[in-house]
Symmetry: C2
């Protein structure tokens, strides 16, 4: 009997051309599919909750596949981790009912974005944070972040090349925290447009550099004009932290007030 | 006139065969020397506070060299960082009096050691922590750590191949902290024998696995028998955090009670 397996996957995106399978390129989806195939001699259709770009990381990407193969979920975790490269780790496996779909069943996501604000880069965090060697006004950035909360048409916070028609999204929560040279942004919403988190991060950086006024965020969103927002922050600072499949889970996460700057990586 | 330049250097040791120059191998000392030479057409004798092994990292290695070249320290930092690979960063440069020597003037060091205690490894922290997929009793490890404090003959906590005669060292402070799956150890002493920090870490792990009794640390040290201590923990978890050149500085550091598990990397 066919079972519906849900995988929660962490990966370091640095050496991958993103999540989605592409001919001739090493991608996370491709490597997981190939690993499964070489282990079980069986092809799977592995569906992710969404794409991540080259260099973007995941603490908790979710993917599902249906298979006739019968293996206890905890054994599948062990077996896959023994065969996958060390920069991709299966954190969890569950068997779901037949209707579960990693993308269509998702009701929200949390992303993390790390900004390393120092004249000298860190040799340890270079793959995990966007280096900004200029002074940033953190309090202005915090103030500007408030402007993103709620339901808005984020048409102007999307990179071109996306076929999406409905560009209205709700941001439930956005928090900034500073610890020494690191600024962490955590944002939770019901969905995100292509590059939306990176454009929000870039806009907050441009506010910190006093190129954009913190008070103008609402006007910039309403303008639906991509050129009025900030630049698109680099891929290396972005982590897909969590994908939600129930509204309750989102509420629990947004009510937590602390954001542990690097502790999230643990 | 010749000046005595002191450099504070951070590096990710993963892709280097340690600090010390070795023929045919990429080492941190070698890369810094070669970078200086290619920039200033001048050879330097770069002396480090001590060697670090392949895969070991530094947050604050200290090295000094004497040179006729006259360049303001902050300019030298910028110039070197523009030319060095991104996994080596000059954090600071000072001009010292003629007597200063990175190794002989040092009065103490602090090392950090990270243990990642989880059945599933982290794709982000694999180069920065030693993965222990077995249950560790953290409270026993904390208790055992106390046994290392003070002045002892650490002959049994040294790997062979070291020409050192005096094996008495003082550990001023040793702290453990646990945050989710990460255990961080911070140890400060007046000096450390070859592999001593990694053998202490390995011994604490073996205590956590209940292979060694927490109460036996004193006896094991006094036995001066390498075979009675724990295994040598892997190089990837080790960071040289700080080198001290005054007793006051050490006292200030050991009096701080908090150890921020990953925050130290910031």
């Amino acid at each position: 009997m066919e079972k519906n397996y849900k995988l929660t996957i962490a990966y370091k995106g640095t050496d991958y051309s993103g999540w989605q399978v592409q001919p001739q390129l090493k991608t996370v989806q491709g490597v997981v599919k190939e690993t499964f195939k070489s282990m079980f001699k069986s092809e799977i259709r592995l569906m992710g909750s969404g794409r991540t770009d080259a260099g973007v990381h995941a603490l908790g990407q979710v993917a599902n596949f249906k298979s006739e193969i019968s293996i206890p979920p905890e054994k599948l975790v062990q077996a896959l981790n023994s065969n996958l490269p060390r920069d991709i780790r299966i954190k969890e496996c569950c068997i779901m009912d037949d209707e579960f779909h990693s993308r269509f069943s998702a009701v929200g996501k949390t992303y993390l974005y790390y900004i390393y604000n120092s004249r000298v880069g860190s040799p340890f965090l270079k793959d995990y944070s966007y280096l900004i060697p200029y002074r940033l006004d953190f309090h202005k950035m915090e103030k500007a972040a408030e402007g993103f909360k709620g339901e808005h048409d984020f048409f102007g916070f999307m990179s071109t090349g996306s076929p999406v028609k409905d560009t209205v999204r709700t941001i439930y929560d956005i928090k900034l925290q500073k610890q020494n040279d690191m600024i962490a942004m955590e944002v939770t919403g019901n969905g995100f447009l292509y590059n939306m988190v990176r454009i929000i991060a870039g806009t907050l950086i441009d506010v910190g550099r006093e190129k954009i006024h913190a008070e103008d965020i609402g006007k910039i969103i309403d303008s639906k004009d991509r050129s009025r927002g900030g630049h698109t922050a680099k891929a290396n600072g972005l982590f897909l932290k969590k994908v939600y499949y129930s509204e309750d889970e989102i509420l629990k996460c947004t009510s937590k007030k602390t954001l542990d700057t690097l502790g999230a990586l643990l």
